[in-house]
């Protein structure tokens, strides 16, 4: 283990950023290397202890849904790429020498062995099967804490729990029945195989869809940045203008507590008023807070619809001290800000101290979309999706459009 780490340290010393910085813009002192250009519709990514990368794909490429990337010659580029197993999905993580990966209804794991062919798909084990699945907000993000508890996002298959989804004039159902099996984070046991949905407990609720869900081993806390609801303006044109809808509701950054209720679908956050407000489907008028007093508050709030798709707490020593234990968030980028220009499409950094933000957020890596202004998501050349930290402290970012994987190093 020690030898492996020192080897990687030696490699990091000889890395050089790509001449065009991988097409991205990063702060002074950082450099970017394209690890691989076109892996497929990439979702989350994880680095094993020896630096081997595993990427989950949403749709199969050449019949495979998990891709392994290895860099044998130490130039930062993947020189060995191999696909495994036959399901699409989002979640991927490493725990106790096992690779865990999720489809939209199951979680599987594979023992990791050293060398060029680290997992054996024929020996995959079912950790959980039969998770609630509907085609909307289907991504089952996973994260595992230090004691082996496995947390799974089960997104709500709905915008705001209306009787008929996304339909003008359809009221919100009260209480929202979806919350019994969706719209929260469920807790399972990472060390047990063949668990059913009913073996898990609902850990936190009122969370529309936590694609960005992460255990922080430093503060020993669970965090999430769910996707806020859409279409305040088109469903309630009398209450919200296009301009208001572009900014609202806020994308909220939460520390998740056991049995915490974060508000969806009844309440949403407004970062101009600094308040949780009652959703219009439940009688809200863009001002009233009645009924939202007991909902959990965010640690930080971002402008609307940026689509946070991964969260990573950085614990490495490669980056300057300010980044240590801070949070990176990949904002996949909006569509529901239309007709106004879109937002997101970058990776943000939030400094942390004692498990809480210690300063404002800032843009860390940008330039993914390939233009200064994105009018329609289809115009984006790349969209930042998954985040991982390598054993040497490099930051890896995946792209959901073409499947580019970037490695960010610090070169000063």
């Amino acid at each position: 283990m020690l030898m492996m780490l020192s080897l990687h340290f030696a490699i990091a010393q000889t890395l050089h950023a790509d001449p065009d910085n991988g097409g991205l813009k990063t702060p002074a002192g950082f450099g970017v290397i394209v690890v691989t250009p076109t892996l497929g519709k990439a979702r989350h990514i994880v680095a094993a202890e020896d630096g081997t990368l595993f990427v989950k794909l949403r749709q199969l490429k050449d019949g495979k849904g998990i891709y392994m990337l290895r860099d044998e010659n130490g130039d930062g580029k993947a020189d060995q790429i191999k696909g495994y197993d036959n399901y699409g999905g989002t979640g991927i993580t490493v725990y106790n020498n096992y690779l865990y990966a999720s489809s939209d209804s199951s979680v599987y794991r594979y023992a990791i062995s050293p060398g060029k062919d680290p997992i054996n798909e024929k020996k995959r084990e079912v950790v959980i099967s039969g998770l609630p699945y509907r085609p909307v907000h289907e991504a089952k993000t996973i994260t595992i804490d230090d004691t082996g508890k496995l947390y799974v996002n089960i997104g709500a298959p709905s915008n705001a729990c209306q009787e008929t989804d996304r339909t003008q004039g359809s009221p919100g159902i009260n209480p929202c029945p979806l919350l019994e099996t969706f719209g929260g984070v469920w807790q399972f046991d990472a060390n047990k195989t063949n668990q059913k949905f009913t073996d898990g407990i609902r850990y936190s609720t009122g969370l529309r869809n936590c694609v960005a869900l992460e255990w922080d081993s430093h503060s020993q806390q669970l965090y999430a940045v769910p996707h806020g609801r859409d279409q305040l303006n088109t469903l309630f044109p009398n209450l919200y203008t296009d301009e208001q809808n572009a900014e609202l509701p806020s994308e909220e950054f939460f520390q998740l507590k056991k049995d915490g209720d974060y508000g969806w679908p009844y309440c949403y956050y407004d970062h101009f008023q600094h308040k949780k407000l009652l959703a219009p489907e439940y009688g809200g008028d863009s001002k009233t807070t009645t009924g939202c007093e007991n909902k959990e508050q965010p640690l930080m709030a971002f402008p609307g619809h940026w689509a946070p798709n991964d969260l990573l707490f950085y614990h490495g020593t490669l980056f300057p001290e300010k980044y240590k234990h801070g949070a990176f968030i990949a904002f996949h980028g909006s569509w529901n800000r239309a007709p106004l220009k879109q937002g997101g499409y970058f990776v943000a950094f939030v400094p942390f101290k004692d498990g809480k933000p210690s300063g404002d957020w800032e843009v860390f890596a940008e330039g993914f979309s390939g233009g200064p202004e994105i009018k329609s998501p289809k115009d984006a050349v790349h969209r930042p999706m998954g985040l991982a930290e390598g054993p040497d402290g490099s930051l890896y970012i995946t792209d959901s459009v073409k499947g580019t994987v970037w490695r960010i190093i610090y070169t000063k």
Partner: protein, 134 residues
């Protein structure tokens, strides 16, 4: 000099009054555009390109330019099972828009069939009425 000034002034008056007029005229010529902007744009986007993985494109898809009955039904009833178009799966539901009038639906469908690179013929309110009545 005086004459010049006169012409410039006339020009300015003509310009300033001509721009808003032509916009208003356009609106009148194309009522489908305003229905589109209010009821469809946020999901299918201003250029009809859609949102990958969520909302399908309206540009150059046979669904839009082909069979009118199926197209009218799409707007009246919505769709809730994911569609696959050119290898991309779209996960959001398409909400029903049966609150729109026959004329509004005809207008918006005529608009999407003749924009975004599409060149199909118009849909009439009578055609929408016939499908709604079924």
């Amino acid at each position: 000099m005086k004459k010049h000034f006169f012409y410039i002034t006339i020009c300015c008056i003509l310009l300033t009054s001509a721009i808003p007029l032509s916009l208003a005229q356009q609106e009148q010529i194309d009522p489908g555009k305003s229905v589109y902007e209010k009821h469809c744009l946020s999901c299918h986007q201003a250029d009809g390109s859609g949102v990958p993985g969520m909302n399908p494109p309206l540009s150059k898809v046979s669904w839009v330019t082909g069979n009118k009955t199926k197209l009218i039904q799409t707007v009246l009833n919505g769709i809730s099972t994911p569609l696959e178009i050119d290898g991309e799966v779209y996960h959001n539901p398409m909400p029903s828009h049966d609150l729109l009038s026959n004329q509004q639906i005809a207008d918006v469908l005529t608009y999407i069939r003749s924009h975004f690179g599409n060149t199909a013929n118009a849909v009439t309110a009578a055609e929408v009425k016939k499908v709604r009545g079924k």
